[in-house]
């Protein structure tokens, strides 16, 4: 009766979670099968199920970790207060991206009768101990972190030990907290197949800070998409890191310094729609765009894409940010109720064709 054996193993590992306080590294599959006296296939199926539910997390090259049960089951979030942390790089609920995420969160809170405390980076300690005092003082029941940066990780990890914590928009895997993310594989594959179909085989992806978690999301997805079509994405050649340059002069940077040595580039992919502003503001670049250059972007920036160039529009991949906010609250609620959740929940995205993309063929 292999199904029974498999259930027993899932149960065994589940019950073990009550006795651990830190993630427990499990033996490799073969050893675990020997320990439990079952076949490797049974172990593999059991681990896959546990991974789906979030009870087990696999770290590439590091091993498989059984997760402790972090939060005791509680009643609903009704009447509770959720902490909302705007991105440190914006530190405001009013930037377009943040306000859209917040819109979903505020609606969810309204429907579920819970309250919100917006905690701004500049007002709250980045010191873990003091931060915990602050969350206790605010009587928070959970925290949503919007697009946090590397510098925020210690505080988030610390918080996640005590409070359900969801990171929205960027992924930092294996840290013990949960994520809600746009499906970047889908973002990149939609962009790639659109550009290929328009004859743009050579395109350059423009991003800021190649080492930032946000850029890593893109690079991993690009690698995967290129691999799927049997080629290699070479970041040194196809990824333009504009972090060291003045963003306001992006159009000039491309036209005067980049294009002369990359004449084959016929399209730009912007990892953030906020790069559109300096591009579109340049009349010369705008004229090129109407003739023989394509720009495609992901609608993640300071304003919605439609506002950048009235009367025209730019092809882009759109993410329903309010929906992402709602998902973060759904995950938070499940965690608050003591349930397991997968480490990352992906939200789907949508391609929107603009009127300014022209084929070079």
């Amino acid at each position: 009766m292999p199904a029974v054996i498999y259930d027993t193993i899932v149960e065994k590992l589940q019950s073990k979670r009550g006795n651990i306080k830190e993630p427990l590294r499990l033996p490799v599959e073969r050893d675990l099968a020997k320990d439990l006296n079952v076949g490797r296939d049974t172990v593999r199926r059991a681990l896959a199920e546990l991974e789906r539910s979030g009870a087990v997390i696999r770290r590439r090259g590091k091993g498989t970790y059984l997760q402790p049960i972090r939060y005791a089951a509680k009643g609903s979030l009704k009447g509770a207060t959720i902490g909302f942390i705007p991105p440190w790089w914006a530190d405001s609920t009013s930037a377009w991206f943040t306000s859209n995420v917040f819109e979903g969160i505020a609606r969810w809170a309204d429907e579920h009768k819970c309250r919100i405390s917006v905690l701004h980076a500049d007002r709250h300690s980045h010191d873990e101990q003091k931060w915990m005092e602050r969350t206790a003082e605010n009587e928070l029941a959970g925290v949503v972190w919007v697009h946090p940066e590397n510098e925020q990780l210690p505080v988030i990890e610390h918080t996640a030990c005590h409070l359900p914590s969801v990171v929205l928009g960027r992924s930092y895997l294996g840290k013990g907290f949960h994520h809600v993310m746009p499906d970047y594989s889908k973002v990149v594959s939609l962009i790639d197949s659109h550009l290929i179909s328009k004859g743009h085989k050579d395109y350059t992806v423009i991003g800021a800070g190649v080492l930032a978690a946000y850029s890593q999301n893109w690079l991993n997805a690009l690698e995967q998409v290129f691999e799927n079509r049997g080629t290699v994405f070479d970041p040194k050649q196809h990824y333009l890191d504009i972090k060291p340059f003045v963003r306001d002069k992006l159009a000039k940077l491309l036209m005067e310094f980049y294009e002369p040595i990359h004449p084959e580039v016929s399209a730009y992919v912007l990892t953030s729609s906020s790069y559109l502003l300096p591009l579109i503001a340049d009349a010369e670049f705008r004229a090129k765009l109407e003739k023989n250059l394509s720009v495609i972007t992901f609608d993640y920036g300071l304003y919605p894409i439609e506002t950048y160039w009235p009367g025209h529009s730019i092809s882009h991949v759109a993410c329903n940010w309010p929906q992402l906010g709602r998902k973060a609250m759904d995950v938070l609620e499940q965690l608050y109720l003591g349930k397991d959740m997968p480490e990352v929940i992906f939200e789907s995205v949508e391609f929107k064709e603009g009127s300014t993309v022209h084929s070079k063929v």
Copy 2:
């Protein structure tokens, strides 16, 4: 000792407020002076002081009303929950205007350690009784209404009987609640003197719904400004109500149907920056704008003015919306502490010269 008499009268009227539950219409100044056995001047000074503090409200053509003491003095707002009501016509915290107001409110709340419940129009009863149950259930300590419409008045008036209530952005005087507003007299006088200085003597003000409270703010201010320079603002001639028309085709409406019979118009004043989108999206109108037409606007719309036409900008009067949000919370706190506040607090505005305003002279 007239100062003493005057203090006594202020005190007398103040103490009377404890015994009334509804606003009490006071006798006309002359009768009041007779009743209190003092001079009319003393009465006038006392009433002026009471009006400044919000204890007395004057209704043009209706009389002078002594206000009841509505809210008992309480401790600070720390730990309390404030209700935030987005405008019914947007019903979202993510529109640019609302998100900027909210940014100020969220920061204030963070600094004062209080919480927020965003209550969306479509989720909450418009029935006064049910609405009061909802505010009780949410344990609200006060409510901020953003740019409410006429239809919301019964609910707001009802709420204000029990809870400190501040209306932000539109004014409905004499209803028993408080307002925080951009200084529209200032908005209009800045616009008027700018256009006059550029030689635009004939301009048309574009607004939606002449009977709406928002348009009334503009019309009153325009009347005043014109009166100050010894002329008359005739709404029939200078105010274009675009409510019955398709907003998307505003440029065509102006060029094909309005301008042929108003050749003297050399500038448009937009009461909302959101009208810029359909104007700027029209290439023909845009070309005119660069030659011999001025547009000036108030930065109140879906996006900040700078995004509408990258590389150019439109002269406008800017209001610090986050600051207005903070002011609303300041007023709410004072009311919560049982203090009197003036019925309207005006927030100052600022003129910003754009690069597309050309003189016709």
